[in-house]
């Protein structure tokens, strides 16, 4: 008969529960360390990321932990600055994508036709090969940070739009929604007050996934040369250039790869931890 209810509380502290378990602690530590390192990079390396020298393509050594690139720049420094670029990008892009995507998913609950239309349009975006869409957007808007931001957001929108809609649809079946309706509460209020807070879990978890995806999207665009512009480094751009020197200096791409792996792994664990917290019985 009656089951033990799920334990809920609306505040952010709910998500902080995720950081109580080892997974969450590890993920948080890595993310915090990487983020701090990235954003402190300008202070630690006042020379900036474009200190060129004549010692090109050096292998890993104590002076240059990750070696140097083709223009004699320290790859560790560039990786950190690159991480900074990437993190800035995704920390801006992710919330925007989550918010706009969710909003698009929500519209269907206020106006059915608009909602269906939006879902169809999201279907269109999903049908497009992500990278080709990204390339087109960047070409139209010109390269650089804003264009990259927009293409990441556009590519990410369907995920959140559909997710929000699915989460809301499942919530809509719940009796408390009917209860609110019998009280005479308007549809839009129900969406904002009842459906949304209960759909937020799924969106937050997906958000953690998306951050990593966004970083890799930047990297993919960089592979085609349309990512972050030189001399400003990004992890993707580093990999892109490093790939060309893979035979002469295999260690070139190792630095950025390690950072990317750490980042990806940490966010993956964070997703797991969040998921477990959110679904905890």
């Amino acid at each position: 008969m009656a089951r033990e209810p799920r334990r809920f509380n609306l505040t952010a502290s709910r998500y902080l529960q995720a950081f109580r378990q080892p997974k969450g602690i590890f993920a948080a530590t890595v993310i915090v360390v990487l983020t701090t390192a990235a954003f402190l990079a300008p202070a630690v390396f006042p020379g900036g990321y474009d200190q060129q020298g004549r010692d090109a393509l050096l292998p890993m050594s104590p002076e240059h932990l990750f070696g140097t690139d083709e223009l004699g720049r320290d790859i560790l420094v560039r990786s950190l600055f690159g991480l900074r670029t990437d993190l800035t990008l995704v920390y801006i892009a992710a919330p925007i994508t989550m918010a706009v995507g969710t909003l698009l998913g929500l519209i269907g609950f206020v106006s059915k036709t608009t909602g269906t239309l939006i879902q169809r349009i999201l279907d269109v975006i999903v049908g497009f090969p992500g990278l080709v869409l990204g390339i087109c957007v960047v070409l139209v808007l010109g390269t650089g940070f804003p264009a990259l931001l927009i293409s990441i957001v556009v590519i990410g929108l369907p995920t959140f739009g559909r997710l929000a809609r699915a989460a809301l649809l499942s919530q809509q079946q719940r009796e408390y929604v009917t209860a609110a309706r019998t009280l005479g509460i308007s549809r839009s209020t129900i969406v904002v007050r009842h459906l949304l807070p209960n759909a937020v879990d799924a969106i937050i978890v997906q958000g953690a996934v998306f951050i990593v995806h966004a970083v890799f999207l930047e990297a993919s665009l960089s592979i085609v040369g349309l990512g972050i512009q030189p001399p400003q480094p990004s992890l993707g751009a580093l990999l892109n250039t490093g790939m060309r020197y893979i035979t002469q200096s295999p260690t070139y791409i190792l630095g950025p790869i390690i950072i990317l792996l750490l980042l990806a792994f940490a966010f993956s664990l964070l997703t797991d931890a969040l998921n477990e917290t959110v679904n905890r019985k």
Partner: protein
């Protein structure tokens, strides 16, 4: 021959027959026969031939090819050309003066895209005197005539429509173009009725499009390909000292730093000169081009007849002087958006250039676009404040370059216009005597160096790496790789 011959020093005698695999980074574009395209260097002149060949070091004395002889009139206003009578197209049809006329007419059309179309456009008349004789007359002297003859292939009118989609690519050369799988591969097969068939050794050449630099390398290393083009200079360098391979270069690409002289800060010649001093060309040569490049402050090489050798190194790297010039011009701190396209070499070059400019107190910004965008902007004369440009027209004569190289044209992307420039251009075109030519060139050189609206950075050939078993390759600064006499030693 004047062209660089590879492996010709080998003592082995030519081997008949055999097939060579040529790994290329870029696919063929047979539709663009009249354009000088780096893409087409690996195969083009094995299929198509022109009337004559010009040695850049001795531009006034071309060697005959399809034309057996020619005679320029005294007044420099016409030329009589005599053609070989044993030349056939790959269709088997005899090549005649009509074909030459047709080809030149095509080259004159705007759609041909020929960089030298200004030459045939200035033809007053082309008269077919006999199947082997053609007379061309012009309104004024034609300093670029031989360059045009050298660059323009003679094509078959009957099959010309097949060029566009590559289904019928008919030339007069030693090999026939077949089996094109766009983006993937094509094959050149020996043409048995080639007029100089006895010189031809190979049966066929397989071209494999391998866009990726590492893939090119591994194709060579694994022996799947005997020759490759499109390898980066730094990769090519890794073959140095390995006697199983021969490393060389073909063609010559100009890398230039273009500046818009109509806007600040580059409306001030001092700033332009400062930039020219600031560029660390040697470093670019060593880090970006693995020292395969040729550092020059001019578009014409040091070997150009009549050139004062010192001019080539007029602007040696001097950041202090550059900084001082910037200060004098009051341009310190000016932002300089630099447009360039995604070519990795250009990109790396940009990074050093940007670093150099920062050093002297300018604030460079990247504006990386893709190739078509760059070109569209170039055509619209809308490249912004500054840009990096590369043009593959190495080996043309200075007078030709003044018309064919966009940066030197009368209407150039730098929006540099001056009566003085016009005057000096004119004297380049009209000079006929050796001394006049020399004087005109010197004046032009001085002017170009002084005004530097587009600072040359470096000239570099495209690296060609071949197995040392491949002999008889002919390469030239003009670009094409000729395999007419090539053979594989056992």
């Amino acid at each position: 021959s004047s062209a660089r011959d590879l492996g010709s020093s080998a003592t082995s005698t030519p081997v008949k027959g055999g097939s060579v695999t040529f790994a290329v980074a870029l696919d063929a574009i047979p539709g663009s026969v009249f354009q000088t395209l780096e893409t087409n260097y690996p195969w083009f002149n094995n299929v198509f031939e022109s009337l004559l060949t010009v040695d850049p070091k001795d531009p006034d004395h071309p060697k005959p090819l399809l034309a057996s002889s020619w005679k320029v009139s005294e007044d420099n206003l016409s030329i009589d050309i005599t053609l070989r009578d044993d030349v056939t197209f790959h269709t088997g049809r005899k090549m005649t003066a009509d074909d030459v006329k047709y080809s030149f007419e095509q080259a004159a059309k705007p759609t041909s895209g020929s960089q030298l179309s200004f030459v045939p456009k200035a033809f007053q008349a082309m008269t077919v005197v006999s199947p082997t004789e053609l007379k061309i007359s012009f309104t004024g002297p034609q300093p670029s005539l031989f360059d045009f003859f050298n660059q323009t292939p003679i094509i078959d009118e009957k099959t010309a429509s097949g060029l566009a989609d590559g289904t019928r690519v008919t030339g007069t050369g030693p090999f026939m173009f077949t089996d094109w799988k766009p983006g993937a591969s094509f094959t050149l097969k020996k043409y048995e009725r080639y007029w100089n068939a006895k010189a031809v050794n190979l049966d066929s050449i397989q071209y494999v499009v391998t866009t990726d630099a590492t893939a090119l390398l591994s194709a060579l290393r694994s022996g799947r390909a005997q020759i490759a083009m499109g390898i980066t200079a730094t990769d090519a360098k890794s073959f140095d000292g390995n006697n199983q391979y021969q490393v060389t270069g073909s063609g010559g690409t100009f890398y230039t730093f273009g500046m818009n002289t109509s806007v600040a800060p580059f409306n001030n010649p001092k700033v332009r000169q400062a930039v020219a001093y600031a560029l660390d060309r040697d470093r670019i040569n060593s880090q970006v081009l693995a020292k395969t490049g040729y550092v020059s402050d001019l578009y014409w090489g040091a070997a150009t007849p009549g050139l004062n050798g010192d001019d080539v190194t007029h602007y040696s790297y001097d950041p202090d002087k550059a900084k001082q010039l910037i200060q004098e011009a009051g341009a310190a701190g000016a932002t300089v958006p630099i447009t360039f396209h995604g070519n990795p070499v250009v990109k790396a070059m940009f990074e050093i250039v940007a670093n150099n400019l920062t050093e002297i107190g300018l604030a460079p910004q990247a504006n990386n676009v893709d190739q078509p965008t760059f070109q569209a902007q170039q055509i619209a004369a809308d490249l912004g404040t500054a840009w990096l440009q590369n043009n593959g027209q190495g080996g043309l004569s200075p007078a030709t370059l003044l018309n064919s190289l966009p940066v030197l044209r009368k209407t150039n992307p730098s929006k540099f216009v001056s009566p003085e420039y016009d005057k000096r251009r004119q004297s380049m075109f009209t000079a006929t005597s050796e001394s006049d030519k020399k004087a005109a060139l010197q004046k032009m050189t001085d002017y170009v160096l002084d005004q530097v609206w587009a600072a040359p950075i470096i000239q570099a050939p495209s690296p060609v790496v071949a197995s040392s078993a491949l002999h008889g390759l002919q390469l030239s600064p003009r670009g094409p790789v000729v395999l007419t006499e090539a053979y594989l030693s056992k």
